[in-house]
């Protein structure tokens, strides 16, 4: 078997094991914490008999391990149970919102990725000179801002000082694609701001790292033209770290999305999660938490896999 196939299989298997472990932590770890779902529903004044009945009805009287495997089986078949607070089917509720979240994150990614790569390349090209310093100073500032602070500065600037946009991002089924784009403009700007800084700084570091390696120096000393050096020597080696930078930061978007959705009252998965944490609706929180974890781990696997495939040293082993 080609060593690269072996590496890929190993990496993907490791990711799946990790996902399984995470599901166990989300379910069993939370079970181990003080707190009782039946008590949470019925309140402090519930009689012991009523608690007993509700526990039996919800299957809470069974051992935690049995319930974990039941839950896991449900997750595999797309059945995530019902929300405690209103009895709505969780899979259905998630299905509607997941699309909205992916739309928002997707729009942000489409803008942020090329922008970060270009800015990163410019900063690396002029390392230590003024374009680099300006870009570094600006990105250092945006890194220091939490998502919601950045969001309110953007809202203040673009809805009050220069009223260009609406401060609330309402998306509903049946809206045209163009109208949807307009609705999410502000949250997308905020997300781009938050991710751009990390992505650009890591791109800059990755390119500089390659440009300072010994084989680039050799190529320069051989008298090759700068374009040839970049295309034939730097580019193939820089592409792997840059792709993993992009994927890691897209995973970071997952967290940014939660907060930004709440700021703009955008009806999607992050908002749904925070609402149900406040209501202490454990099944919903576990299900949505697992989805976020799966997306995060999935993107990290993609990062590693593309880095392995793009690495010329792994593709052509000696």
């Amino acid at each position: 078997m080609h060593p690269i196939v072996k590496l890929l299989v190993q990496r993907i298997a490791l990711g799946l094991v990790l996902l399984l472990a995470v599901s166990a932590v989300i379910f069993l770890g939370v079970e181990a914490l003080p707190g009782d779902t039946a008590q949470a529903i019925l309140g402090q004044s519930a009689t012991p008999q009523a608690l007993e009945n509700l526990r039996a009805q919800m299957g809470l009287d069974q051992p935690a391990l049995t319930r974990y495997f039941n839950w896991l089986g449900g997750v595999m078949t797309g059945d995530l149970g019902k929300a405690l607070t209103n009895g709505v089917d969780i899979s259905q509720a998630i299905g509607q919102r997941l699309g909205n979240t992916l739309f928002l994150a997707g729009c942000a990614a489409v803008i942020a990725v090329p922008l970060a790569l270009i800015l990163g390349a410019v900063a690396a090209r002029y390392a230590g000179r003024w374009p680099d310093k300006v870009i570094s100073a600006v990105t250092l500032t945006t890194i220091s801002l939490p998502e919601f602070v950045a969001a309110y500065f953007v809202i203040y600037l673009l809805t009050i000082l220069f009223p260009v946009f609406q401060p609330v991002a309402m998306v509903f089924p049946g809206m045209s694609f163009w109208a949807k784009l307009q609705a999410v403009a502000l949250p997308v700007i905020v997300l781009v701001m938050v991710v751009l800084a990390h992505m650009m700084r890591m791109t800059r570091a990755a390119i500089l790292n390659v440009m300072q390696s010994a084989y680039i120096e050799t190529a320069e000393l051989k008298g090759l033209s700068p374009m040839t050096i970049i295309w034939k020597h730097a580019f193939p080696n820089a592409i792997a770290p840059v792709i993993s930078v992009v994927a890691i930061n897209l995973a970071y978007l997952v967290v940014g999305v939660v907060v930004v959705e709440v700021v703009f009252s955008y009806n999607a998965l992050g908002q749904y999660l925070v609402d149900h944490v406040t209501k202490r609706d454990l099944p919903v929180v576990q299900a949505v938490g697992l989805i976020f974890a799966a997306v995060y781990i999935g993107l990290n696997i993609i990062a590693d896999v593309t880095a392995i495939i793009a690495n010329p040293r792994l593709r052509h082993p000696k």
Binding site: L18, A21, V22, V25, I26, V30, L33, P34, G35, L140, T141, I143, S144, L145, P146, E147, F148, V149, Y152, F153, I155, Y156, T159, I160, P167, A251, Y252, V254, V255, V258, V259, V262, V263, L273, V274, H276, V277, T278, R280, D281, L282, V285, Q286, G289, F292, A293, Y296, I297, N300
Partner: protein
Amino acid sequence: MRIPPSALIGLILTGVFIFSAIFADLLMPYAYDLPVGTQWEGPSATHWLGTDTIGRDILSRLIKGGQITIFVALAASILSFAMGSFFGFLAAVSGGWTDQILSRVCDLMMAIPSLIVALVLLSVLPLNLTVLILVMGVLDSTRVFRLARAVAMDIAVMEYVEAAKLRGEKWGWVIFREILPNALSPLVAEFGLRFIFAVLFISTLSFLGLGVQPPLADWGGMVKENKDGLSWGISAALVPALAIALLAISVNLVADWVLSRTSSLKGGRG
């Protein structure tokens, strides 16, 4: 010793924040939890930063909120440092199974974003300052663990550590008397970054309504309370937002400077 101007600005601003946090109760012009004016007054001579959504003095709340934000963040980062560096050193010194188990647990915790883990945990745990500090401290200790383990790995192979082990010293001595003093400078630089992260984390949680609970004030919660004013052009929510940004940036400037100093002392090794 020459301090670059950016670090000096950072030091001064950080100093002001710490001073106002320590003496918050003396500096507050009004009670932070009682209405003293009408809703959303603009800045005036009596209320320098105006009043908030139910007429409380924003300056007083800002000072009190700063105290709580800084206290929670500091307590969480101290906890994460104590835990992270202890287990990191332990993993580096013992190696073998202990190292494997600790490192895999750390990988598992880092496989999910901290905010998501925190949200899952806070849906079960009671919301109070102790729980917040514990959750934030434990979640963040994974990052300190990685750094402490890497630094201690370098030190653990030095001759003087070998000598201490051959003398028959116990692991407690090796960790606290041999490794800790030599690992301190990279850890101190990291502390600044962890502290900023904790400030941003607690602010975000409070903003989501899952952090510091009213009537206590903290900066993230103040943004949440006053955000509705923004759509009417009232900028009360921007004051605490600005405070968070300013604190984060000034600590960042100081940490950057310490980091570049310690790494140049060690011949470029960070």
